[in-house]
Amino acid sequence: MEWIDIFIVAVYLIGLLLFGLWFGRFVKTEKDYFLAGRTLPFWAIGMSIVVSDIGAVDFVSLCGSSYRYGIAAANMDWIGTMPAIVLATFIFIPYYWRSGVYSVPEYLGRRFGASVRALQSVAWILFLVVNLGAVFWASAGLFDELLGGRILEAIGFTAAPGDPDGTYHRKLFYVVLTAAFTGLYTISGGLAAVVYTDVVQLIIMFIGAFFVVGLGLAHPDVGGFAGLKESLAAQHPDHLTLFLPHDTATPFPWTGVLFGLALVQAPAYFMANQTIVQRTLGARDEWAAKAGTLFGGVLKFFIPILVVLPGLIALRLVPDLEDADKAYAQLMTILLPAGLRGLVFAAFLAAMMSSVDSILASAATLVTRDCLMAWSHLAPSPRRLLAIGRAVTVLLLVGGIGLAATMETELFAGIYEILQSSLAIIQGPTWALLVMGMFWRRATPMGGLAGLVAGLALSIGLTVWHKAGFEPALFHAEDPFMFIAFDSFSFTLLVIAIASLFTPPVAPEALRGLVFRSYRYDDELQDAIESRQRSDDDSSES
């Protein structure tokens, strides 16, 4: 990258930081910090959902997946989003918003008890913190590849003892730089800063990524979409179908895509992942919560065009790449002139920073409200909670930097590989809890706890069996996590059902507002609850 590109990136970073810091003036209570004071409009929610979901690593890995396996990689964002988003819009999100919870574990705690809340919050916090370290380190690698050591060399650093080419310390520098920029506005402005900077980041991301796609399709060796399709049909026909066979070795067998991804992993992601759900909880009204979710689904439709199509273009332009994950970086080198490279790099930064700020905001909410407040039974003032929330965010940021710094050790490589699977491990059981909790009144707290523990045990067991290569092999796919998610979901459902039937039912009054249709035909109760919520808000602000 040239100095003009670095200048563009610097302007973007400083502008975004100042914009994010501005929101700090509006944060007075923990509700302002964790839920943006419940003022968010639908369009900001939708845009924030999309850019929080897509990180710089997704650009690299999804592009690499489509280079290797074709358009089937787009299933992750098409069928892997739309059904779940529609279900979330019309059922789960309205119930979360109406109940006034700050997090999904808090909802599950009201439905199934404190033990389930504790297990869920700890599992998600572990995943989020490790994910934070992983995002930092993976993105630092990307920046090192694109920027090199120019910035550090400009201040006189080239190497250190034990790191002769300076790679490790350069990456650490990029981690700290990114953490500083992102952390400052997140700690200052909370969810409002996160969401509105996400709006800017989405625009930058879309503009930059569309440039890559446009220039790629216009390249004479590609010949537009028709030319691309013709060349792929001749050389890689399997790259043009969304439906790969059940026994394919790729990660996208159609059965896994339907049963594992569409019916389990995607709903769990959009309805149980705090980083996604939290911005809907900050909506100004119930309609904005629903509309923001659905608008996010509309915008998400364009993501495969931005990250999967480049992989197919790269296959045409650079057909012999040894490492498919370098496809996007290669496209940037081939297609983009100086100046435009900086804009696209800013798009990468946007994607990465939006993931980091969302992870920070959601992890801080879970630690502060679902762990500290829930376990201590203290009820500090809203202002004191705000201070605690900010302190927790700082600690998480430092923890993320520390974890990132250990990413290249052998010990962590092993742990990281297992924990990268942790999303698939917890999604199946979590989704089963939500389904039973929302749709079956007979589900009991003991049933929920038994199901969660049993489901997690099965997920972990199947993952370890597959990773260790034990015989008999249980799956054809090299990456069978869609199947593991479906299997653990089904098993958890069964255990919840059986255990619930052997334990006393929950009183109907205790389920009001937590179970589907417990509000729909009770407008008087709904109005009474909303009136109480408004008076609670007024008394906390005074």
Binding site: I79, V86, P94, T241, F243, T255, L258, E286, A291, V298
Partner: protein, 59 residues
């Protein structure tokens, strides 16, 4: 591969139809007005239709 295509497109169609059947009052709850553009049933139906088209094209 006709079976998975049929299953996927049928699944999407069911989702679209279910979205269109959601009661109007439920859709507009919390909305400041009841203008047509706020009717989320049509947003959902449009999103489903686009997915049906794309999955049929790449089948």
């Amino acid at each position: 591969m006709d079976l998975p295509v049929g299953i996927f497109l049928g699944f999407f169609t069911l989702i679209g139809l279910a979205a269109l059947l959601v009661p109007r009052d439920y859709i507009y709850r919390g909305a400041p007005d009841r203008r047509l553009w706020r009717d989320l049933r049509w947003w959902a139906a449009g999103l489903v239709a686009v997915h049906i088209a794309v999955y049929w094209y790449f089948s």
